[in-house]
């Protein structure tokens, strides 16, 4: 869990690709990464390790600067999905989730694995199509380790 934060922002016309990694906390300064004026924003969130309450606030202020953009959250780790579900506005109304991780757990081994759910494969506008079976490295069956009604709540919006 490195405390370092990194953000790479690439502009391609009116499209912006953003890759974030590390910790989003009280030290974050999103003003260094302007996104105003972009028409499409793709955010790769797979590298985010943690986000605290100050980070949540700064994220909302930042993402709201791109009200006219079409925003996509990609490879959302569980901590980001938790914020999307818990904090209205964390995923703005002009945003959608393209892929996100779902934790699986084996009671037998105590192992955990994160499975990527991708739009068009494991979920669509019609609902979830969960993987048939997930096993850990020892071959133990793993179960989805979330309260489905709570974790997938954002898909219903």
């Amino acid at each position: 869990m490195s405390a370092k934060f990194d953000l790479k922002l690439q502009k391609d016309g009116d499209k912006v690709n953003v890759t974030l990694s590390g910790v989003i906390d009280e030290d974050i300064d999103f003003t260094k990464y302007p996104i105003e004026g972009a028409k499409q924003i793709q955010l790769n969130l797979g590298g985010i390790k943690s986000i605290n309450s100050c980070g949540i606030r700064e994220w909302i202020k930042w993402i709201n600067k791109a009200k006219d953009a079409s925003i996509v959250y990609d490879q959302c780790p569980k901590i980001i999905v938790d914020q999307i579900n818990m904090v209205e506005g964390f995923l703005p109304s002009n945003g959608r989730v393209a892929s996100f991780y779902v934790p699986y757990y084996s009671e037998e081994s105590g192992n955990e694995k994160n499975i990527l759910f991708t739009w068009g494969k494991e979920f669509t506008d019609k609902g979830l199509m969960t993987p048939a079976a997930v096993k850990d490295e020892d071959g133990s069956e793993m179960e989805m380790d979330v309260i489905e009604a709570k974790y997938f709540k954002f898909l219903k919006k």
């Binding site: 009280e26 605290n52 309450s53 100050c54 989805m144 979330v146 309260i147």
Partner: protein, 273 residues
């Protein structure tokens, strides 16, 4: 001890050990005795967080515990707090986890110490051998750290206390676990927390939703304690005004994330004026 629960016989053994303590154990929904008891512990089935917060507003109310698999430990803890609550400020792990397997304290004085504190939390997780609590414990550490380093001194200044009285003193994290639970505690030397304001604030976040309750102005975001509750199955708040504020969160050690979320939450409050 007075018992006013739907299953009094379950609590009679506990009541015997609480002789001499002015504690009333009251079923959520029943009326608490109006006199004769200094402290009330409410017991209920799947009491939602909003109700927990409302019940703790009552000055004599010291805890709301859930009737689940942890109820015995929760009630024994409530009893220990009634008798030895002041020891939270000196030996927090001994009060919270009597059968402690591991305990370590980290002192910190500024924001620069955050990485030191986070490293200790990581060590705790490694040592425990549990994989699926990393982000949960990290969230708890983040919010407790910000409370102690930013919110507490800011509140002390707002109250007009100045901060000279804490010069040279430090905050402390205590990390520990026993066979069943992790415990992360944090204390600061300011004692500036207004418990009733905090409970009201938490109730607002619960009722309106986190997104509608964020403070976008100066100061904290106003979500920290809500995040602590989201990530723990039991929380303790203790304040000795102008001396110390103490927060603690309990997280089950050997459970799936799903089971942790399904656990309804208990809350204990210790108020020293």
């Amino acid at each position: 001890m007075k018992l006013l629960c739907k299953d009094n016989q379950y609590f009679e053994a506990l009541a015997d050990s609480c002789d001499g303590i002015d504690l009333a154990l009251v079923e959520v929904g029943m009326e608490a005795p109006s006199s004769g008891f200094d402290k009330i512990v409410y017991v209920g089935d799947n009491v939602d967080l909003g109700r927990v917060l409302t019940l703790l507003h009552e000055v004599r109310s010291v805890a709301v515990v859930q009737r689940n698999q942890r109820i015995k430990n929760d009630l024994e803890y409530a009893q220990r707090l009634t008798q030895f609550g002041d020891q939270l400020f000196t030996q927090p792990m001994a009060v919270q986890l009597p059968n402690l397997e591991f305990n370590e304290r980290v002192d910190f004085t500024s924001h620069m110490d955050k990485s030191k504190v986070v490293s200790k939390a990581e060590e705790l997780i490694q040592r425990s051998g549990v994989q699926n609590v990393s982000d949960t414990l990290r969230s708890i550490v983040e919010e407790l750290f910000m409370n102690a380093i930013f919110d507490a001194p800011r509140e002390a200044i707002k109250k007009g206390w100045g901060v000279d009285y804490v010069r040279g003193k430090s905050c402390s994290f205590d990390f520990g676990y026993d066979a069943e639970n992790f415990c992360i505690s944090c204390s600061d030397p300011f004692g500036s927390l207004d418990v009733d304001y905090l409970l009201q604030r938490l109730k607002i976040v619960f009722d309106k939703g986190a997104g509608q309750s964020i403070n976008f102005g100066e100061g904290g975001a106003g979500l920290g304690c809500f995040i602590l509750l989201e990530n723990s199955v039991q929380m303790t708040i203790a304040v000795r005004a102008k001396k110390m504020t103490f927060f603690s969160c309990l997280v089950p050690r050997w459970s799936s994330r799903k089971d942790r979320v399904l656990n309804s939450k208990s809350l204990h409050v210790v108020r020293y004026l």
